[in-house]
């Protein structure tokens, strides 16, 4: 289907880093089934580096591709760098997303950040709350209460 770029279809058909991490150092889940998108990101962090990352996603093609790409972008990177991941970077790495699918990339960014926040909290580390604003649910994709 021409709805998506080849990059999106590649990451959708062959998603990287699918799965879970037992004893993860940080876990972040965003979205809800009502909206049709849920992403869950698991992090293994060693020496302040994202040593491993896995994800599970319930959602459309672009949701699965966005999670796959987001995990690729942070794998092996320092935590500080992972923290600066933006949805725009995910969109660009995927060679673009249709306008009504951009929220999937936002969700991917939020899932990564929520997992990092979990890591900070578990380890009693100090963090700048501003970096984790509005990541409690998928505020970008659904505000209906139906």
């Amino acid at each position: 289907m021409a709805l998506y770029s080849e990059k999106v279809m590649d990451h959708f058909r062959n998603p990287r880093n699918v799965g879970i991490i037992e004893n993860a150092d940080g876990i972040g889940e965003v979205g809800n089934a009502k909206c049709g998108d849920i992403m869950k990101v698991y992090l293994k962090i060693e020496d302040d580096i994202i040593a491993d990352v896995k994800f599970e996603t319930f959602g459309c093609g672009s949701a699965i591709a966005s999670s796959s790409m987001a995990t690729e972008l942070i794998k092996g990177k320092p935590v500080s760098e992972a923290l600066s991941l933006t949805n725009q970077a995910v969109v660009e790495a995927l060679d673009g997303l249709p306008v009504h699918k951009v929220h999937c990339s936002v969700l991917a960014e939020e899932a990564v950040k929520k997992a990092l926040l979990d890591y900070y909290k578990r380890n009693g580390m100090t963090y700048d709350p501003q970096q984790f604003e509005d990541h409690e649910n998928c505020g970008s994709c659904c505000d209906h209460n139906a």
Partner: protein, 396 residues
């Protein structure tokens, strides 16, 4: 390989329809409004097509108005009935919650203009009861509009009974029969139908053409002002090639209706049986009272668009009521109307058959859907929570 299972979206034109259409794109190109020979050849063809279509529906030729398709016919039917009602001070319309948007959005507009709309419940099996219509009719009811068969879940409504009730209570009865005509026996006389919309491309005819049947004596409101075409009920030069293709397609479909329905029902029921083997899946809509070619399922724990894309990779063309496939946030209003909650409605799959499909294709499709559902559940955090008992299954 391509297995086309999206015949509710559109069908392939039949050879008969193509052959009937082509001469009117070539030699017979006159405008039926012209007085000369070329024009009159087209005018004769038009009159003939109108008569043949009228025979298929059991109405008079002058009760047929050609339109650009089902949506225009629905719009014109509703506005016309509303106009007639308003003149008599009747501003109440009865419909159902799972009509096509061509009806629902027109009703929204009429509501803004001061009409009161009652949308009847269609129950979990996707069928409205005639008694609900009877109970809902008031002194000021000017129109009952109930679709013949639903476009997503294929459930067939008790049209004849609703028609009887409306006729007895002197209320105009319109039915959007876009999914039914050519697939089920439709007879506007016997079924007391006052207005009926149909669309050619749902029964192997061309796209962009349909009709509005309107019983004699019910005045139509024009949506498109222009010349005197269609006896002043729709301006614009008639789309003669499409009309000729439609008439041929309808005659062919009506002649083969029982044969095709018999064949499709066997394929449909095998597909339903095969997909029912998938755990935590559910058929949407009544198992028996549905179109012979319609299959619609929800699978818990997955989302429909990713299901469609992976089936497409396997050569299967299908559709879904998932929000992601429509570009809106909400899943199908049809699935919500039969009580499927959002979480489940997102994981829906519609497979609609034609008589060209084979038993082998159905077996391949069952296998493919099983594989894709299993794969997507394997990467779904929702499925994990369900399997690990952190959430309760909605579909048991």
């Amino acid at each position: 390989m391509r297995i086309y299972l999206d015949n509710a979206a559109t069908t392939k034109m039949s050879k008969t329809a193509v052959n009937a259409l082509l001469p009117y794109m070539d030699d017979i190109y006159g405008n039926p409004s012209s007085l000369h020979l070329a024009g009159q050849a087209a005018a004769e063809a038009l009159a003939d097509a109108r008569k043949r279509m009228a025979n298929c529906l059991d109405c008079a030729a002058d009760e047929i108005t050609f339109t650009s398709g089902g949506s225009e016919a629905d719009n014109q039917a509703l506005y016309s009935a509303a106009r007639i009602g308003a003149r008599k001070g009747k501003r109440h319309i009865i419909s159902t919650a799972f009509e096509h948007h061509a009806v629902l959005h027109t009703l929204d507009k009429l509501e803004k203009e001061g009409f009161e709309i009652t949308l009847l419940d269609v129950h979990e099996n996707g069928i409205v009861h005639a008694k609900q219509v009877s109970d809902a009719i008031r002194e000021d009811t000017c129109l009952v509009t109930v679709m013949y068969a639903n476009n997503e879940i294929g459930t067939v409504q008790p049209i004849q009974k609703i028609g009887e009730i409306c006729r007895a209570r002197d209320v105009i009865f319109h039915t959007d029969a876009v999914q039914a005509v050519g697939h089920l026996h439709v007879n506007v006389r016997e079924q007391n139908i006052d207005m009926l919309s149909l669309s050619a491309h749902k029964f192997h005819g061309p796209k962009g053409i349909g009709i509005l049947y309107c019983r004699k004596g019910i005045p139509l409101t024009t949506l498109i002002e222009g010349g005197a075409q269609e006896r002043g009920r729709r301006g614009g030069t008639e789309n003669i090639p499409a009309i000729m293709g439609m008439a041929a397609a309808l005659e062919e479909a009506c002649a083969l209706i029982d044969e095709n329905a018999g064949k499709l029902t066997v394929l449909r029921d095998r597909l339903i049986a095969g997909l029912s083997e998938i755990p935590h899946s559910i058929l949407n809509g009544d198992a028996g009272r549905r179109l012979p070619g319609n299959v619609n399922f929800c699978f818990e724990g997955i989302e429909g668009e990713s299901l469609l894309l992976l089936l497409d990779d396997k050569g299967i063309c299908a559709s879904s009521g998932s929000a992601c496939t429509s570009g809106s946030l909400d899943p199908s209003h049809v699935l919500l109307a039969i009580g499927r909650i959002h979480d489940i409605a997102h994981g829906s799959l519609r497979l609609t058959l034609s008589e060209e499909n084979t038993a082998e294709e159905i077996e391949y499709t069952i296998q493919a859907v099983k594989e894709v559902v299993t794969y997507l559940r394997g990467i779904s955090p929702v499925w994990r929570d369900l399997v690990e008992g952190k959430k309760e299954f909605i579909i048991k």
